[in-house]
């Protein structure tokens, strides 16, 4: 009951030239699994939306031993670890068809009141306490990611980037980042750990500065708006 298992087969449009699932498609799967689990427990976006509130993911980390490939059947296991006043921690395991754990994920979520744009105290929902399993993952929890200052590209937010929330879909940030790297890096290496911190939403037509700072086996990214305010920071560690 506390853990939910969501099966998914990797679609062609979720795979890249190496036939492995893309990082953004994998992130989408975790977010969708989170949505399905939250709905099944009565605290999903649909219920919150009626109350003019919504879930926002503030941090996400993923560690992968290997990436599933096109048409591979995987199962996303997800559960809530804990609630605090400000955030809830939701964890994930990625199982392959032989039930080996090929990856883990951990996310931090907050609830925003869409009228006031302020965070809602999650402990004001005592009925949710029963879903806090206390169970953690083996990986390190999502990090705070440092700054990156060198602009490598500018990107204007397009129709295909905008989702039902009227702002940029959170995984599109990841696509923009990966698009600045050399394609051979994606073909010859995999991201073993991915951290992303979300600060602000990017909207249609907005121009975004993509900054990057490279270091041995790590790329650190920062997306900034026209006022130099940080939209998002991410760190990709490669094998």
């Amino acid at each position: 009951m506390e853990h939910n298992f969501i099966r998914h087969s990797v679609l062609p449009q979720e795979s890249d030239a190496s036939k492995r699932i893309t990082l953004s498609a994998l992130g989408f799967m975790l977010l969708n699994a989170a949505g399905i689990d939250a709905e099944s427990k009565g605290f999903g976006s649909i219920a919150l939306f009626k109350d003019n509130k919504c879930w926002v993911v503030s941090r996400m980390a993923i560690e992968m031993k290997r990436y599933p490939t096109m048409y591979e059947e995987i199962t996303i296991e997800t559960w809530v670890e804990d609630f605090t006043a400000a955030t809830t921690t939701r964890n994930f395991r990625v199982h392959d068809a032989s039930d080996e754990i090929i990856g883990e994920g951990s996310t931090l979520w907050a609830i925003i009141d869409m009228n006031t744009r302020r965070a809602v105290n999650l402990l004001s929902y005592p009925e949710w306490a029963t879903f806090a399993t206390g169970e953690t993952v083996a990986m390190e929890k999502p990090h705070k990611v440092g700054a990156a200052d060198e602009e490598v590209e500018r990107y204007r937010v397009r129709y295909s980037d905008i989702d039902f929330n009227q702002h940029t879909n959170s995984m599109k940030y990841v696509e923009w980042m990966l698009n600045t790297l050399d394609i051979s890096q994606m073909q010859n290496h995999i991201v073993t750990r991915f951290d992303i911190n979300y600060m602000r939403e990017a909207r249609f037509g907005q121009e975004v500065s993509i900054c990057r700072c490279d270091d041995d086996d790590t790329n650190r990214f920062e997306l900034k708006d026209a006022d130099n305010k940080s939209l998002c920071r991410a760190e990709l560690k490669w094998n």
Copy 2:
């Protein structure tokens, strides 16, 4: 047996700001349904690939009465109408949960020998004849689309555009086209008929010229390479 029914629930990342499924996500669903059906009948890409051959879609047309929305459960019905030496016609119906037909599709496919890059005679597979149902759709078949000459944008092919075939995913063309239009058009209108003709593949790093020609309720698009050769043409008719 001849018709296959594939259920799918519209995911958040498949929906746009209007919460309706995007045209590219809908196109992906039809292509995936085609793949699932072909595999189940023994003539899918996996089998062909071993023989160094692959299916390519040359034309697709979709007519929609309404677009399903986020989380809506739909069923894609697909079947083969016929085989000729050059192409096979595969049709689709989109059913909603109350089994109303909300749209139809029709596609033309050829098989390419990946060594010679030449088309394979489909009638050289007599065992497939049994799958030709002769059954058509109510909509008009895929059109030949005319030219469009006015360049509205240039686009460089990115990592996130490339799929397992090592070239641009066919539905990415549609995203690039829609991204040149005013977002209010997408929010206030729907595409009632969509035609696309595929001519050439776009590869990583290639610069593509997006040309468009607008006429009352229709946008015609042409994508061209640096030698002014046509990659693809499409026509979108709006309500």
